[in-house]
Symmetry: C2
Subunit: 393 residues, 2 copies
C-alpha cells in the first residue's frame, strides 16, 4: 500500500462520493488485491465508512464506501511572499473555514511568524470544526527541509532564512505538522482534485510573485536529492541578464515572475510609457502589481501587453526545455499570474510549441489550474492528511 | 523484489566478487528480508551460486554468494550515427568478444541493418561463448518504443524512421530482445559499474555525434510518459539559432554536439581560420571530425579551442538548467566528445557553476565517465540481463 494508492482512492471517492472495490479497481487501474488491502486499512482507521450496497439487477450486491467526512479535520497553511492563507478542511477536503491576510513586502520575519501562528490558532479553535484536527500542513516558497521541519530560505521574503517552522508551530498544536514547498503542494492539490488525477508524469508550474514547479515522475512527487527540485524560476533564460535574488543572472524570475513584471512596469510607467497604468493606480507607481499590469493589458494598454507577452514567451521557453527533458503527459499552469489573462497564456502556449520537440509537444496536454489562490493551502492540508494516513503510520 | 534491488545486488557482487546476505544488506542499505528474498530467487534461477562460508573468529559463519559467470551470456548492440558496436558478456559483465564497425554518414538504412544483423550473428556463434545467449539488448539514438520494439526515429541517421528492430533481429535469434535509447543504456551502465551505484537521483549526459541524457529519479530510470525523456540535445539554448535536424531552432545539438563542432570547424577551416586543422587532415576538409578538433585544441589551435569552449559553455548551461529542475546528486559526463579534452570539460564545469543555484551546485558531484566508447553497448547487455531476470519473468 503506497501513498499513491491512497491518493488515488481518496481523490476518486471525493469526486464520486461512493464506490465499490470493483469500481475503484476498474476506474483506477489497480489490482483488486491492492484495493481490498488499502480499503480495509482505511476502514480500520475510520477514514472510510460503509455506505450501503450497490443497486444491481442480479448477483451479489457489492458494498459501497465513502470518505468519513467527520473523521478528522486538517489545516493547510500557505505562507507566500505576499499572503498568508489558512484553510480548515474535513476529510473530504471541503473547506470549513478560511483565513487570509495580505503581506506587505518588507514585513519583518517576526511579524510574519506571529501572523502565521495567529492564523493557525484561529483555525484550530474554529467554530466550524467538525472533528479534531488530525494534522497541519504548512507550505512556504524556496527551499525547505521537510525532515527537519525547517524553511531554509525564501529569497522573496526579506531576511527569511533557517526558520524552524516545525518547532515554532508545534508550540501551539499537538497535531502532526508537515512542511513542504508551496509549488509542490500546488502540484499535490492538482493531482488530488482531478485534472491530472490519473497522470503519472506531469508538471505543475506555479507562476506567482516567484516561480516554482512540482514534478511528478512515475506517479510520485519528485523532490530531488535534497528536496530542492523544481526551481524553474531559476533556470537561466537570458544568459547575460540582470541579477536575480538568488545571485545568478538572467533567471526566469527576473523576467517573468509577478515580482519582475511589476518591477519592469513601475520603471516603464515612471518613464511615461503607460499613462493608462499610471491612471489605474492613481499616480501611486510604487503600488503597481502584476495584477494591475493584467488589468491594463486586458484594457488594451500596449506596454502591459508587451510585458505579458514577453513574460509568457520566457515561461513557455523554460517549460519547453523541461518538457524536452521530462516528456510529461500534462503541464498545468497555476499561480496568481495566470489571472493576468489570455495574452500571457497564449504566449506561453506559443513558445511552448515553438521550443518543444514536435513528437513530445503533440502528446502533451496544456491546461490552466482551476484551483485559484487557495491551491497551495489545499495541497498543504492534503499532505497533512496523507502524511498521517501513510503506510508507515 | 524490484529491478532496482537486483541491480544493486548484482553490481555489488560484480565489484566485490563475493558477499553474505548481511554484507549486502549493510552495504546497500536494504532490508534483510528483501536481500534474503532476492538472493533466494537469484539462486533458484542459477544466476547466483554459493561460494563457501565467511571466515570469522566466532559465531556461525554466514554463506557467501557470487555471480555464476557461466549462467548465461548476453549480447549488447549499440547502433550509433557513426558506429555499430557489439559485445558479448557473461553474467559478470566481463566482455568475451567485441565487434565494431565505423559507419560513414549517409550509409543507407538497408546496409546499416544488414551490418547490425551480421554483428549480432557473429556474437551469437562466437567461439568465446561460455554459455547460451540469455538475451540481446539493442540501443539506438533518438526515439524508441521499447514495448513495440521499434526505433521510431534517429534524426542523425538519414532515412531512419519506424524501423521494426525487434522483428528484424528476431529472425536471427531465439533469445529475448530488448530495445532502448542509447543514452539511457549509457546511464544503466554507469549505475551498474559503480560511479553512481548508490545514487537515486542523477543524470548521465551522452555527448557524441548527437546529445542525449539518462535521468534517474527515485532510484529508477525515468523514461517519461511515452519513452521520450532525456532530449537535452534538443533543449533550446539559442532561441533565434540555426535550424536543427529536429526542425526547431537553436537546439543544444546545433552548437555543442560532435556533429555541430565538426560542421562549424569545416566551415571555418575553409575560410582559412585554422591552418593547423587543415594540415591535420591533410587538406581533406570534409573529413574533419570532432575528434580532429579535439586534437587541434590540445595542440594549441585557437579556433579549435574557441569551438570547444563555446560547446562546453552551452552544455554547462543546459546541464545547469536540468540541475535547477531536478536537483541531482551526480552528473556524469559521457559520450565520445568527452575525449576532446580539458578545455571542453572545464567550460562545462564553469558554465554549470555559473547557471546552477549555489545551494544545488554545492551538493552536486560532477564526474567524467570511465566507460569509454563501449558504455552504451554494455548498458544494452545489462538491460537484456535485467529484463530476463525481472520479477515478472
Amino acid at each position: 500500500m503506497s501513498n499513491q494508492t491512497i491518493t488515488l482512492i481518496l481523490s476518486y471517492l471525493r469526486q464520486n462520493r461512493t464506490a465499490t472495490r470493483s469500481d475503484l479497481a476498474a476506474a483506477l487501474g489497480l489490482h483488486t488485491r491492492t484495493v481490498a488491502h488499502t480499503v480495509k486499512t482505511l476502514l480500520d482507521r475510520g477514514l472510510l465508512i460503509p455506505a450501503g450496497r450497490q443497486q444491481s439487477a442480479a448477483g451479489r450486491r457489492q458494498e459501497l464506501f465513502s470518505i468519513n467526512s467527520s473523521y478528522r479535520n486538517y489545516i493547510g497553511l500557505d505562507l507566500g511572499a505576499t499572503h498568508i492563507i489558512g484553510i480548515l478542511v474535513d476529510a473530504n477536503c471541503s473547506v470549513l473555514e478560511r483565513v487570509a491576510f495580505d503581506i506587505r513586502p518588507g514585513l519583518g520575519v517576526e511579524m510574519i511568524i506571529s501572523q502565521l501562528r495567529s492564523v493557525a490558532n484561529r483555525l484550530q479553535v474554529s467554530e466550524n470544526r467538525t472533528a479534531s484536527v488530525g494534522g497541519v500542513g504548512v507550505c512556504v516558497p524556496g527551499f525547505v527541509d521537510p525532515r527537519a521541519g525547517v524553511s531554509i530560505v525564501a529569497e522573496n521574503i526579506v531576511g527569511w532564512r533557517n526558520i524552524q517552522l516545525h518547532k515554532i508551530l508545534s508550540a501551539d498544536t499537538t497535531a502532526p505538522l508537515v512542511i513542504e514547498d508551496s509549488s509542490r503542494t500546488l502540484g499535490v492539490a492538482e493531482r488530488w482534485t482531478g485534472s491530472v488525477q490519473r497522470a503519472s508524469d506531469f508538471l505543475v508550474i506555479d507562476i506567482g510573485y516567484g516561480v516554482g514547479m512540482a514534478i511528478y515522475a512515475g506517479g510520485e512527487l519528485y523532490r530531488g536529492t535534497n528536496y530542492k527540485s523544481g526551481e524553474i524560476g531559476h533556470v537561466t533564460v537570458v544568459p547575460d541578464g540582470t541579477v536575480c535574488t538568488c545571485g545568478k543572472h538572467g533567471c526566469l524570475e527576473t523576467v517573468a515572475s509577478g515580482k519582475a513584471v511589476a518591477a519592469i512596469a513601475r520603471t516603464a510607467v515612471r518613464q511615461g510609457k503607460s499613462p493608462m497604468l499610471m491612471d489605474l493606480v492613481q499616480g501611486n507607481v510604487d503600488s503597481i502589481s502584476a495584477a494591475d499590469v493584467g488589468v491594463a493589458a486586458n484594457t488594451g494598454d500596449a506596454l502591459a501587453r508587451d510585458l505579458l507577452r514577453s513574460a509568457g514567451g520566457f515561461i513557455g521557453l523554460a517549460l519547453a526545455n523541461a518538457a524536452n527533458l521530462l516528456n510529461p503527459s500534462h503541464i498545468v499552469l497555476g499561480g496568481g499570474m495566470i489571472n493576468a489573462g489570455a495574452i500571457l497564456l497564449d504566449s506561453v502556449r506559443e513558445a511552448l510549441s515553438l521550443h518543444t520537440m514536435a513528437e513530445i509537444f503533440n502528446e502533451l496536454e496544456l491546461s490552466v489550474s482551476e484551483l485559484g489562490i487557495d491551491g497551495s493551502a489545499l495541497g498543504s492540508a492534503i499532505i497533512a492528511m496523507l502524511d498521517t494516513t501513510s503506510p508507515a503510520d
